[in-house]
Amino acid sequence: MSSAPILKIDQIDVFYGDFHALWDVSLTISKGDIVSIIGANGAGKSTLMYTIAGQHVPANGTIEFMGDRIDGMGPHLSVGKGIALVPEGRRVFPRLTVYDNLIIGAYTPRARANIDENIKKIHDLFPILAERGNQRSITLSGGEQQMLAIGRALMSEPELLLCDEISLGLAPVVIKSIYKQLEVISQEGLTIVLVEQDVKRSLRFADYAYVMLEGKIALQGKAVELGEDQVKKAYFGM
C-alpha cells in the first residue's frame, strides 16, 4: 500500500552535548505504512523518534513532513502539524482523569474542532477508557495506561503516529489486543512508526523496517523480504 512519502529525513546528525547520537541518518516513510525501527538499547531508535517529534534539533540535515521542513520546530508545533508521540513508559498524566488525559491530547487548534467525535472513536477502540473516564489515570493498570497513551496521541488527529516501546512490561495478551487495534487504525490510513525490541513481532506487523546500530541505519527493507537472521546480525553488528 506504499504511496507518496509522508516523512523524508535527509542526512541528519543529532548530538547530546558531545555525544554523537545519530550519524547521517536518512529515511523515507510512505503514507499509510507501518514502519518498524529495530535496534538494541542505545542504538538511537528513541533519539530518532524524539527528533521526528521535534524534541531534538538535528545539527545538520533536514526533516520534511508532508512537504514542509519541520526540523527544530519544537514539540508543541510539530504536534500541530500532525505528528503524535506515544512516549516510552506511557507517561500518562497521573493526577488527571482518564477523560482529561484524552482532552489534553486535543490541545492543538487542528484537533479541537472534532473533540467529541474523536473521543467517541477512541472509546470504540478502547472501551475501557470510557468505563474509567472519571478515574485518575494513575489508578489504571499498565495496559490500560498504554491504551490511554495511544488514545491521547490519537486525539490530536495525527497523520503520523510514533509509538515508542509500547509493549514494554505488558502481558502478551494485552500486547496482542493493543496491536490489533493499531492495525485497525492503520487501515484507516494512519502512518505508524514503531520502535520495538521484539524483532519477530516487528517484522510480522510492519510493512517496512529499519535496523539501527550505533546511531546509524544498518539495514533496511520491506518487512516481508527481510529474514529474521539477517536482521539479528545487523542488530548485533555482526
Binding site: 488527571l96 490541545y107 490530536s156
Partner: protein, 320 residues
C-alpha cells in the same frame, strides 16, 4: 471508584458567599476585621498556589508584588490625590509590568533557580525603595487618600479580591490553559509534545498572579495605612503564604481558603502569647503536615474524594 463531585457544591459556595457578603450587617466590627484579613490572605495564597501548585513555578518573591502594588497605591493616592480604588488598580497594573520585566531574566531559569531569582528581585526592590528619596527612603509612607474609605468599604474591596482570585483560578483551571498547566505539572516534556506551550502558559499565570497580588496588596495597605519597605518587601509574606497553602493543601482550589481561615484565626489567638506565638504556629504546621501530609484539603480529597471546586471535567456517556 472516584466519587461524583459534591452535589450541593454551588449551594454551599453560594451560602458562604452570602454569609461573607452580608458580614457587615450581622457581624461585629471584630468579625469584619477577621473577614478582611481572611479575604486578603485567601487572595494572596490562591495566587501563590496557582504559581507553585499548578504552574510549577516556585515563587519566593511574591513580596515583590505586595510591596510594589502597595507602594504604587500609596504614592498615587497620597502624592497625586488619585481616587483610592483607581490607585489600587494601578498597583495591579504596575505589578504586571514588574512581572514582565522580571520574566525577561528569571524565565530562563528553572526550579530552585527560578525561586531564588524571584527572591533576589524582591530584595533588590527592598534596597531600591529604602534608598529612594521619592518614597522617603526607609522611613515609610502614610497612605493618605483624598477620601479615606470606611472599614466596610475596605472589607468589600478585600472580599472582591478574595472572590476574584478564586474565580480566576477556577476559570483558568477549567480552561484549556489550565488543563495544560495540570499536565505540565505532571510531566513537562510529554505535555509539550501534546502541544502545550509551556513558556506562554507559565508566563500567563505569572502575570495573572502579579496582577491579583499587586491589587490585593493595594487593599491591604489601604487597611494598614502605613507602608515601609523593610516589611513590605520582606520574605515573611511568602513564608506566610507557603504556610497557608501547605496546611490547606497545595494544588487544590479549596486549600488556600481553608489555610487562610486557619492562619488568620491562629495568628489572632496566638498574638496574645508574645514571643512564643511564632513557635506555636510552627508546631501546629508540623502537626498538620504529619497528620495530613497533603494538607487538609489535599488529604481529604485523597481519602474521601471530596472536592468543592474541581478542576476536573466530567465524562458522561454520550446519549445514544
Amino acid at each position: 471508584m472516584i466519587r461524583e463531585p459534591f452535589k450541593y457544591r454551588w449551594l454551599v459556595l453560594g451560602a458562604l458567599f452570602i454569609l461573607l457578603a452580608t458580614l457587615p450587617v450581622w457581624g461585629s466590627d471584630y468579625m469584619l476585621l477577621l473577614g478582611l484579613l481572611f479575604c486578603l490572605y485567601a487572595a494572596l495564597s490562591q495566587m501563590w498556589n496557582l504559581l507553585t501548585g499548578y504552574s510549577g513555578l516556585l515563587s519566593l518573591g511574591q513580596q515583590a508584588f505586595i510591596g510594589f502594588g502597595g507602594y504604587t497605591m500609596a504614592v498615587t493616592t497620597s502624592y497625586y490625590n488619585i481616587n483610592i480604588w483607581l490607585s489600587i488598580l494601578a498597583g495591579g497594573v504596575t505589578s504586571v509590568l514588574l512581572a514582565l520585566f522580571m520574566s525577561l531574566f528569571i524565565f530562563r531559569m528553572s526550579g530552585i533557580f527560578f525561586a531564588i531569582g524571584t527572591w533576589i528581585f524582591a530584595e533588590i526592590l527592598m534596597l531600591w525603595f529604602s534608598n529612594w528619596e521619592y518614597v522617603k527612603y526607609g522611613t515609610g509612607l502614610f497612605v493618605k487618600p483624598p477620601n479615606p474609605p470606611s472599614m466596610t468599604m475596605i472589607y468589600y474591596a478585600a472580599l472582591t479580591m478574595g472572590v476574584a482570585a478564586l474565580a480566576t483560578v477556577y476559570l483558568i483551571l477549567r480552561s484549556k490553559i489550565g488543563l495544560g498547566l495540570m499536565a505540565m505539572r505532571d510531566n513537562e516534556a510529554v505535555s509539550s509534545s501534546m502541544g502545550v506551550e509551556i513558556f506562554r502558559s507559565k508566563l500567563f499565570c505569572f502575570l495573572v498572579a502579579a496582577f491579583i497580588t499587586g491589587t490585593t496588596a493595594g487593599v491591604l495597605y489601604v487597611f494598614q495605612i502605613f507602608i515601609q519597605p523593610y516589611k513590605a518587601f520582606a520574605i515573611d509574606w511568602t513564608v506566610s503564604l507557603v504556610f497557608i497553602v501547605i496546611i490547606g493543601g497545595i494544588g487544590t482550589i479549596e486549600g488556600p481558603i481553608v489555610g487562610s481561615l486557619i492562619f488568620v484565626l491562629l495568628s489572632q489567638y496566638l498574638s496574645e502569647y508574645g514571643h512564643i506565638s511564632l513557635l506555636l504556629l510552627g508546631i501546629i504546621a508540623i502537626i498538620i503536615i504529619l497528620v495530613a501530609p497533603k494538607g487538609i484539603m489535599g488529604t481529604l480529597q485523597e481519602k474521601t474524594g471530596f472536592e468543592l471546586l474541581s478542576p476536573r471535567r466530567l465524562f458522561s456517556e454520550e446519549p445514544g
